[in-house]
């Protein structure tokens, strides 16, 4: 009927993908791996937040940002600032010249907490900041660029430069930011020790559930008229514009959404890994995040999750066993993704596996189809 959509987007397949992923994340992986590996997987999954955002903005909207590390960093730093303040009680920091402020500030002769750190005493504010700050930042960048019709390659390079600037700034302003070392030695969240194994289990599940929630949100956007508009804009931006849409606003919106997703990932990264540093913001991590999305298939939000998991997994395994060859392998992988299977893992799945899955499902769901 009219409600039916593309074959590749049929809800049935999406529901299946979602269930499979949920079972994998919430049941299989926790059963299969010890907490050390599970914590690593949790870390990889924080990059999946970024990759999902990229699928929306790049895959759907055609907006390639090479600066998603900016937003990952905003969320990560917001959370890290809160945790650091909690860790810097006057008792814990008694040996400092100014007890009660983070250690790196003390080393840099700050004698009072900078004003912009103050609100991060509040957990509520921190949570709001994790969502609102990236949205504001993305809005400013997006409004400035899209209103002036900066797009494509230019947008990619400018966002990359912004990531570079942010890194230089954070490293240079070490008294306020912890500099190149980042914000480290984070211990408790509202009094709850996040370093214990049980806390790591819980954080893993929180992270996985958040990721699934973000997937649902992404799916909703993709399925809404807005999602179709983004696809339409990629095909023919002018046609959309002259159908009475303010195209720029849609781009800004989706860029903000991608930023918010990344920021949530960053915050979860800080919680699970226990620190945040500029090395997660700069050009290299930002490009790697694009590559997770590309490997997964830049049109598939589920692919993004698998892409982030598999590339990071491969990186860990390869660098453990063959530290000298993993760069070769990574390089080859990126080239292969672009040249041999441009639709990424999702594309492979759609070509080879999905027809079989469909057949299976069709058999079982024949009765449903009768209506």
């Amino acid at each position: 009927m009219l409600q039916s959509k593309f074959k590749s987007l049929t809800p049935r397949n999406d529901v299946l993908s979602f269930v499979v992923l949920a079972v994998l994340l919430l049941v299989l992986l926790p059963l299969l791996f010890d907490i050390f590996r599970l914590n690593l997987i949790g870390k990889y999954l924080t990059f999946a937040f970024v990759a999902i955002g990229l699928v929306l903005s790049w895959g759907l909207g055609g907006i390639l940002s090479l600066g998603q590390g900016i937003f990952f960093g905003i969320g990560g730093y917001a959370m890290a600032m809160f945790l650091k303040l909690e860790a810097s009680t006057p008792e814990n920091t008694a040996i400092q010249s100014t007890p009660g402020i983070p250690d790196f500030m003390d080393w840099n002769q700050l004698t009072a907490l900078p004003w912009f750190w103050e609100p991060f005493h509040s957990f509520g504010f921190t949570l709001v900041a994790i969502i609102v700050l990236p949205a504001i930042f993305a809005y400013i960048i997006g409004a400035a660029m899209f209103k002036r019709r900066v797009g494509g390659v230019y947008f990619a390079i400018i966002t990359q430069a912004i990531a570079a600037i942010l890194t230089i700034l954070i490293i240079g302003q070490q008294g306020y930011t912890g500099g190149v070392n980042g914000i480290t030695d984070l211990r408790t969240l509202l009094g709850w020790d996040i370093r214990t194994d049980s806390a790591k289990y819980i954080l893993y599940f929180v992270n996985a559930i958040l990721l699934l929630a973000v997937l649902v949100a992404a799916q909703y956007i993709r399925k809404s008229k807005l999602g179709r508009l983004l696809v339409a804009m990629r095909d023919s931006e002018d046609r959309v514009r002259f159908s009475g849409y303010d195209v720029d606003n849609y781009k800004i919106f989706i860029f903000c959404i991608a930023g918010i997703f990344s920021s949530i990932g960053g915050a979860m990264f800080t919680l699970q890994v226990g620190f945040m540093s500029p090395s997660l913001i700069g050009i290299v991590p930002s490009i790697e995040m694009v590559i997770f999305a590309a490997v997964g298939g830049n049109l598939s939000i589920f692919g993004a999750v698998y892409g982030a998991l598999i590339v990071n997994w491969a990186k860990t395994i390869l660098s453990e066993s063959y530290p000298e060859v993993w760069l070769f392998a990574m390089g080859a992988l990126f080239i292969a993704v672009v040249l041999a299977f441009p639709k990424g893992l999702a594309g492979l799945y759609e070509t080879y596996l999905q027809p079989k899955v469909d057949k299976l499902l069709d058999k079982k769901l024949k009765k449903d189809k009768a209506e």
């Binding site: 190149v180 070392n181 980042g182 997660l280």
Partner: protein, 418 residues
């Protein structure tokens, strides 16, 4: 932190050790120590220790931008481990190392530290190079009670029961160097230049305080982003300010650019007008810069390859035998070499691989065979060591022109310099 060990355990361990010493092991052990205990008693915390092997970790960047700097440390640690094994190992056990790549990425260092401690259960880890990588890994070592031997000279401001800092902290490297510049060279005006991150900034802070304490003057302080390659502007500023000493803490690829451009701008280091005193150029860096470009440079650190003592001659010969005639040894490389030896001494003194046991024995451990000369572990887990000034020659080596008489006490939280 649950670093404490119950007194009962301690007692039992001591009793067991004296009772169960296996005489047959004496021959195996090559006479360096008296007893070979069963694995379960020298290791009560489930470390990867068997009756004849013990696992340790080596954790440095083999790939990425830091690989340049960290290679020497890996080589030195492997050399020390091989030598210790040739002498019979530690408590009669051969050291097996598991090497992990930190990939110049700080989260990776944390991740790999955890892998080494949790999965591989290594008895000690030799590794990290940058402060950032150490800061990232440190909570892991504290949480899982591992022992890290960290080789790089660094900014101080840290003291962890789970880390032994085998390089110098900032005051050890800086204070004597500035004293020397004042006394020997009559320096009055200093220009401070560094890469823009925590080590140069902290070092320059200490340097500035000390310079001002001595009644001398800082005429400029400048920082450039890591990896910056254009120094002509700052060189012009230096020319304008006419300092007696350029005190530099520029690192990495920027170093190469800085010295090449300094030379091209007509500042001949051998003329010492101004004199250039660095904390960050070791023999390793000179390989990349080219000896002819730094001839006349002064470096303030604790070790130079040309140190004329016997320990160092043997070390240099062994290093070159293992890693090739062309290899060079810098300050950090030597400090990395100390790690396995300090660990061995502490383990043998404790008679146990347990981290809590060696935490107790480490302070006060001495090495008389260190290439840099005698060193001793301070209760603050840093090393007592000498300050030295080297004068670079065109062939890329240093002449040692100054050596402090006494060992300098490590002072990672220097009062009055913060």
């Amino acid at each position: 932190m649950d670093n404490k060990i119950s007194p009962a355990t301690m007692k039992r361990r001591k009793v067991l050790k004296s009772l169960l010493a296996i005489p047959a092991a004496m021959a195996l052990a090559g006479g360096t120590f008296g007893s070979l205990a069963h694995a379960s008693e020298v290791n009560t915390t489930g470390l990867a220790v068997t009756d004849d092997t013990v696992k340790v970790g080596i954790l440095h960047s083999v790939t990425g931008t830091m690989a340049i700097s960290e290679t020497g440390s890996v080589q030195a640690e492997k050399l020390a481990i091989e030598q210790i094994n040739a002498m019979g190992g530690v408590l009669g056990r051969k050291i097996e190392y598991i090497q992990e790549d930190g990939a110049s990425d700080w989260p990776t260092f944390a991740e790999k530290s955890k892998k080494l401690l949790v999965n591989d259960k290594v008895a000690a880890v030799f590794g990290c190079w940058t402060s950032a990588s150490r800061k990232a890994a440190l909570p892991v070592f504290e949480q899982y009670n591992g022992m890290l031997f960290y080789p790089t000279f660094y900014e101080g401001l840290e003291q962890s029961p789970n880390v032994i800092y085998t390089g110098q902290e900032a005051t050890q490297q800086i204070l004597k160097g500035i004293d020397w510049a004042k006394e020997t060279k009559g320096a009055k005006k200093f220009f401070l230049l560094g890469s823009d991150y925590i080590w140069p900034r902290t070092s320059n802070k200490i340097a500035r305080k000390h310079i001002e304490k001595l009644g001398l003057k800082v005429v400029g302080e400048e920082y450039y982003p890591l990896g910056h390659t254009q120094f002509n502007s700052v060189i012009n500023k230096i020319k304008l300010k006419k300092p007696d000493v350029i005190f530099t803490t520029v690192v990495g690829g920027s170093n190469v650019a800085f010295y090449k451009q300094l030379k091209a701008a007509g500042i001949d280091l051998t003329k010492e007008k101004p004199l250039v005193l660095t904390l960050s150029v070791t023999e390793d860096e000179i390989l990349g810069i080219g000896g002819e470009n730094v001839e006349g440079l002064y470096a303030s650190m604790k070790y130079f390859q040309s140190l004329p003592n016997d320990n160092n001659k043997k070390f240099e010969a062994a290093f070159k035998k293992m890693w090739g005639e062309k290899s060079v040894i810098g300050d950090v490389t030597q400090a990395a070499y100390l790690g396995p030896w300090l660990w061995k001494a502490a383990v043998e003194k404790a008679g146990s691989f347990d981290v809590d046991a060696i935490k107790k024995t480490l302070p006060g451990i001495e090495l008389t065979t260190a290439p840099e000369g005698y060193v001793k572990v301070h209760p603050n887990h840093h090393l007592w060591s000498k300050s030295r000034i080297g004068h670079a020659k065109a062939d890329g080596t240093f002449d040692v022109v100054y050596e402090s008489k006494e060992l300098i006490e490590p002072n990672p939280f220097p009062k009055g310099y913060q």
